[in-house]
């Protein structure tokens, strides 16, 4: 039984930490906390610097520009990014979602074209999965892609896409065979979001971020926009989503930082002379939150250790980790906001009255989005029930 990182990984951590401490100026951190267009900060310059060091694609094969580093190095990199509030929106999709799909399913030519800019931190991607009539039931997508000569012609719309207004590539799942059973008529197509016929309409989330509804009207893209096998896109996507669920293994450090700040606040803030932390409901909730964060860390490490031993993303641990965050996370965020009392409602534009720069007000709203991004809580509970416990349909 062992709970320690290999020594060389701790060395790597020092290197990453030094970078974060030097590069992430107070302005950049402030941008992370307060930026309006993106959750998690959007900063192409930082993304490029991370790419130059090869850190965005640490575990990728060398022939596509990766470092073939251990999963532990990726964990440590994620941990330090999250702990230092490093902006990640400019590379999150390219490095952790679209990139791995390209690595697995694209042709050599497509890989040569698409992957090097991702590893260098020079290309930003958006994902278009959800549509007005296809959310959790993703196989019902209606964005139609029709072959016309060598080209594809797209018509339809995608919902809630982040980043796409500043992206170089747009990863789409499209309907390529409307006659086939719905799971068997879907394909992955990658387009340049500046292609004529694409219109973006901003939608603003309640916590102040921009997402988009994107309309496609006779959008013509070349034949090599298709990634993977035609009509096998849903299966490619399922595998990619599973890979994505085993990414962000260091994300718990952000929650740890939040917890530390909450403990400090509850210790220093008094209610008629008594520190809040001595109130029994506050004390109990803080411990519960601390246990939640610790288990988040251990589940991440468990998934990492199984990936590192060469297996595929482990079903039980990966899915359970999904439930842990999606089903249990929100109650701790609500609790932390409750500790702020009246001030829990105050936002960032009244900073003098907003504890911790209104972070818990933002988290309170953000927790809803976090629970639904990449699949609903109920969806991941279904996954655990069917795939992990083998319960009948």
């Amino acid at each position: 039984m062992d709970f320690t990182f290999p020594a060389e990984v701790e060395e790597f951590r020092k290197e990453v930490r030094a970078f974060m401490e030097q590069e992430l100026t107070p302005e950049i951190r402030d941008e992370y906390e307060h930026c309006t267009d993106y959750p998690h900060g959007f900063n192409k310059a930082i993304t490029r610097k991370l790419g130059q060091r090869g850190w965005l694609t640490l575990t990728w094969p060398k022939e596509v520009g990766g470092k073939e580093a251990s999963v532990w190095e990726r964990v440590v990199f994620d941990e330090e990014m999250a702990a230092h509030h490093c902006p990640i929106a400019a590379h999150q999709v390219s490095a952790n979602f679209a990139g791995p799909a390209v690595v697995h399913f694209a042709t050599d030519e497509q890989k040569q074209k698409l992957l090097p800019p991702i590893t260098r931190g020079e290309s930003t991607w958006g994902i278009g999965l959800t549509e007005p009539n296809a959310g959790t039931d993703l196989a019902s997508v209606e964005l139609r892609a029709v072959r016309d000569g060598d080209d594809w012609v797209l018509n339809g719309s995608k919902m809630y896409t982040e980043h796409v207004q500043d992206s170089d590539h747009y990863f789409l799942i499209t309907r390529t065979d409307p006659e086939a059973p719905k799971h068997r008529g879907v394909s992955i197509i990658v387009v340049d979001p500046r292609t004529p016929g694409i219109t973006m309409v901003p939608l603003w989330t309640m916590d102040g971020y921009r997402v988009n509804q994107v309309f496609f009207e006779d959008v013509r893209v070349p034949g090599d926009a298709l990634i993977g096998e035609e009509n096998r896109g849903f299966y490619h996507l399922a595998m990619t989503l599973n890979t994505m669920r085993s990414s962000g293994l260091g994300g718990w450090t952000e929650a740890q930082g939040d917890l530390d700040d909450l403990v400090r606040y509850a210790k220093e803030t008094t209610d008629n002379g008594q520190p809040l932390i001595e109130d029994s409901w506050v004390a109990d909730g803080i411990a519960d939150f601390a246990i939640y964060v610790r288990i988040s860390r251990l589940l991440s490490y468990r998934v990492a250790s199984m990936l590192e031993s060469g297996g595929p993303a482990p079903d039980r641990e990966t899915a359970v980790r999904g439930v842990w965050g999606k089903v249990y996370g929100q109650k701790h965020v609500k609790f932390a906001n409750d500790v702020m009392g009246m001030a829990g409602q105050v936002g960032k534009y009244s900073p003098e009255h907003a504890p911790m720069l209104a972070r818990w007000q933002r988290r309170y709203m953000g927790a809803i989005a976090g629970a639904h991004n990449g699949g609903t809580p109920e969806n991941i509970l279904n996954t655990v029930a069917l795939r992990v416990l083998g319960l009948p349909r």
Binding site: D2, F5, K267, A287, I295, L298, N382, A385, L389
Partner: protein, 383 residues
């Protein structure tokens, strides 16, 4: 970093499971609930031969020389099988108390017997207050010639009727703090000792031990007069991790029983396990137990490595007890009426979970400890 049992520990675990599936089916568990002694001497002899009773005791005292991670993986299997035995009372709590508090002579005198299973040594710490804080020790030890006289009521004393020796915590100096607490080796058959069985939810042979002016000699003090609390604290932390591990085993088994039943039980023409309302209960059960298990392993590992585990131990006990409650309560619900009758296995886990929840500190108390430490360690913001 593997965060789980080593290959050798996996073998301990597999062997234990195989043995217990044969030797300790749930019929046996039910039978022992009604039994006057509460455990089967033949099975006890066998598990002692396997080295379980000496698992934590160093080899020089006749033990197996195992560590906290070894006992944790074994405890999972014991919790899964609900093995009725004095193993926890004597070979974990009793042995650890002697190891932490005793002089070398006392260890020589007591540990080999515990390791072989021939002697049962149990700690009498709790009193009617039920607290694990030092103020809970109110039994008085008053000087009497060269020795002492003990008076007070001890409660929740496991297997006191089978014990060869009781280790009684008493106050040699009045007060409520950790100072002045002393441990005494007491013969349960000594004049003035009255032992009465407690009716507990799990019928697990806990006793009230009334001490009415019980006379003990100076050499029956275990360790130092007045200085036992730090040793007791060490014992409680280690024992809490063992109960937590046992709880994980019980929680896992509760989940399995519920999953299996829900696949077979048909209502409205479908197996009830196909209903999402129940599926989501079971998905939460597996999530809680998977998370808590990692925390229990981490606490056991830190104690083994001699690292500070003062926050991991209460986290582990709180999480494991929480998972056991969830799995056994929801598990019993999934069985409906079929879970409530004595013949059902799931109700054994339901009742055991309550006992394990309060043993070695309930989750609220452990969470209080966690927050107290977090507050102590919290430093003002640097900017």
């Amino acid at each position: 970093m593997d965060l789980g049992p080593s290959e050798a520990q996996q073998i301990i675990k597999n062997n234990a499971r195989q043995f217990l599936e044969d030797a300790c089916p749930t019929e046996h568990v039910r039978e022992m609930e009604e039994d006057a002694t509460g455990f089967d001497p033949a099975i006890w002899t066998q598990v002692c031969d396997f080295g379980w009773s000496g698992m934590l005791i160093p080899e020089e005292y006749g033990g197996f020389g195992g560590d906290m991670t070894d006992i944790a993986v074994l405890a999972e299997e014991i919790g899964r099988a609900l093995l009725p035995s004095p193993l926890f009372a004597s070979s974990v709590v009793g042995a650890l108390t002697v190891m932490e508090a005793g002089s070398d002579d006392q260890k020589q005198a007591l540990l080999p017997g515990i390791a072989s299973g021939e002697s049962i040594v149990t700690l009498a710490l709790n009193e009617p207050s039920g607290t694990y804080e030092p103020w809970g020790v109110q039994t008085e030890a008053t000087p009497d010639g060269a020795g002492w006289r003990l008076s007070g009521t001890k409660l929740y004393v496991s297997y006191a009727d089978s014990a060869n020796t009781l280790i009684v915590a008493a106050r040699t100096a009045a007060g409520t703090g950790p100072e002045g607490v002393t441990l005494f080796l007491v013969d349960p058959h000594a004049p003035g000792v009255t032992i009465t069985i407690l009716d507990t939810i799990y019928q697990d042979h806990q006793f009230e031990v009334v001490l009415d002016g019980v006379s003990v000699n100076a050499d029956q003090v275990l360790g130092e007069v007045g200085g036992a609390w730090p040793a007791i604290q060490q014992v409680l932390d280690r024992a809490a991790v063992v109960v937590a591990a046992e709880s994980i085993g019980g929680a896992e088994r509760s989940l399995e029983l519920a999953v299996d039943y829900s696949k077979e039980r048909v209502q409205f023409g479908r197996p009830i396990g196909s209903f999402q309302a129940l599926q989501h209960k079971m998905a939460r059960m597996v999530t809680e137990v998977t998370g808590a298990q990692l925390l229990v392993y981490e606490a056991a590992w830190r104690l083994t490595e001699g690292l500070d585990a003062s926050i991991e131990v209460p986290m582990a006990k709180a999480a494991a007890s929480g998972a056991y409650s969830t799995c056994s309560i929801e598990g019993t619900h999934i069985f409906g009426g079929a879970g409530f009758i004595k013949e059902a296995d799931i109700q054994l886990y339901f009742r055991r979970a309550k006992g394990a929840e309060v043993l070695m500190g309930d989750p609220r108390w452990h969470r209080k400890r966690v927050t107290r430490l977090l507050a102590e360690r919290s430093v003002p913001a640097s900017h």
